[in-house]
Symmetry: C2
């Protein structure tokens, strides 16, 4: 990947983002014409925790690792954001520092909409703030659901859920075997769940023994997605 | 408490709520004139998880327990909401069921603003949606902070933080001894943290041994708030 996507692709991607749904075409055109496109190499830091976002970022191609350090200095991964995801919104609207750090996991193509462009459109069409409020409310609902899950679900269930989510957003399916390959390290899985690599390793080995998954260096293959979905990583009945 | 507060108190309370800050006086008057005032007895269910809110609720006097059941049927307490708090907002704006159940912890006086009244004002003054978006964004930030705390902090630290929060919102200070009394059961503290009453009991006994707190039936006295703040419930240096 070393060329930019065509303008039509960009426009249709912008239009597909929840916060822009229902925006009239002339405003979407205005956003697109004032947006910039960026190519970034794997490992680039796109926005750092504590830094105020200078605009909205939309992932056009590639994937972004979203992380944060806790007050105690522990790294945790909030999500792997796939193409089509938007980030930077809360920092742009409230002008406060970003909660998360965003790093390119792959080569990346981004659409960057500068804060002033976005906020100018909203100032001229204030009813569009309603979309923003509804979008942030929907994120809040999913974060509350995650809090409850984190509080009450066992590690095995939460691990299986993360693996299943990653098959949707980051899985590459082998058309012959049907196996789904995910590029993720055991350390990263630990950082999703706030536990050590060693703890994750034990859980993964259990899933491997059940032939639900297979482990390779820096990769994981889902061999039996149905079983994984059905079992939620529960202990097998003996 | 068995009479309603005077209209001026109600108006100034509405004006003090974050989402109404900067609203012009005539709109605040309109909200107040179309709002209703409710008295509720201790234990009344005000809004149930899964039910769509029929309006915004503002706590004028008293306290509300905000709880939810997880998918696995475990109860957890999200917070004790004191006077001045607003709830029902997300359900009112997106029309989806409430994430939480709200129960009167004490006798209660509420201001109820019906959804249609609130949404009509917003429809006539769409720029006010900006306030809503910013408010929801600020809640989202604090929920993300709570997720990180929950993932990485020990139970003792999280317990002390909850006790300190409760001294602010629900503490009654004895002017003679300086002790701060909080009406909360050990089971409730367990439900804040997703652990059993027995586990909480052990932690509380430790704090009692340090003379930071004293335990009574259904109550807890903070004897040394400074020590509690300084120690964050850490093990004492021996």
């Amino acid at each position: 990947m070393n060329t930019y996507s065509d303008p039509l692709t960009v426009l249709s991607l912008i239009a597909s983002i929840t916060i822009f749904s229902g925006w009239p075409p002339h405003l979407l055109d205005r956003l697109q014409s004032q947006s910039r496109r960026w190519l970034r190499t794997e490992g680039s830091i796109l926005l750092s925790q504590g830094q105020t976002a200078s605009g909205l970022f939309i992932i056009l191609k590639g994937s972004v690792e979203v992380t944060a350090y806790s007050d105690q200095g522990q790294l945790y991964i909030q999500r792997f954001a796939p193409a089509g995801n938007l980030y930077g919104l809360v920092s742009v609207i409230d002008g406060n520092p970003s909660t998360f750090t965003y790093v390119a996991q792959t080569e990346l193509e981004l659409i960057f909409i500068p804060s002033e462009v976005f906020l100018d459109v909203l100032a001229s069409q204030p009813h569009l703030w309603k979309n923003i409020a509804l979008y942030v409310a929907s994120v809040q609902r999913s974060v509350f659901a995650a809090v409850s899950e984190q509080m009450f679900e066992g590690l095995n269930v939460r691990l299986v859920r993360i693996i299943l989510n990653l098959t949707e957003t980051h899985g590459i399916r082998d058309s012959e075997t049907g196996h789904i390959r995910i590029r993720v390290t055991q350390e990263q899985l630990g950082n999703f769940l706030g536990v050590t690599r060693q703890t994750i390793h034990k859980e993964l080995k259990h899933l491997e023994k059940l032939n639900y998954i297979a482990l390779e260096y820096g990769e994981l293959f889902v061999l039996d997605k149905k079983a994984l979905e059905g079992g939620w990583g529960r202990q097998p009945q003996i």
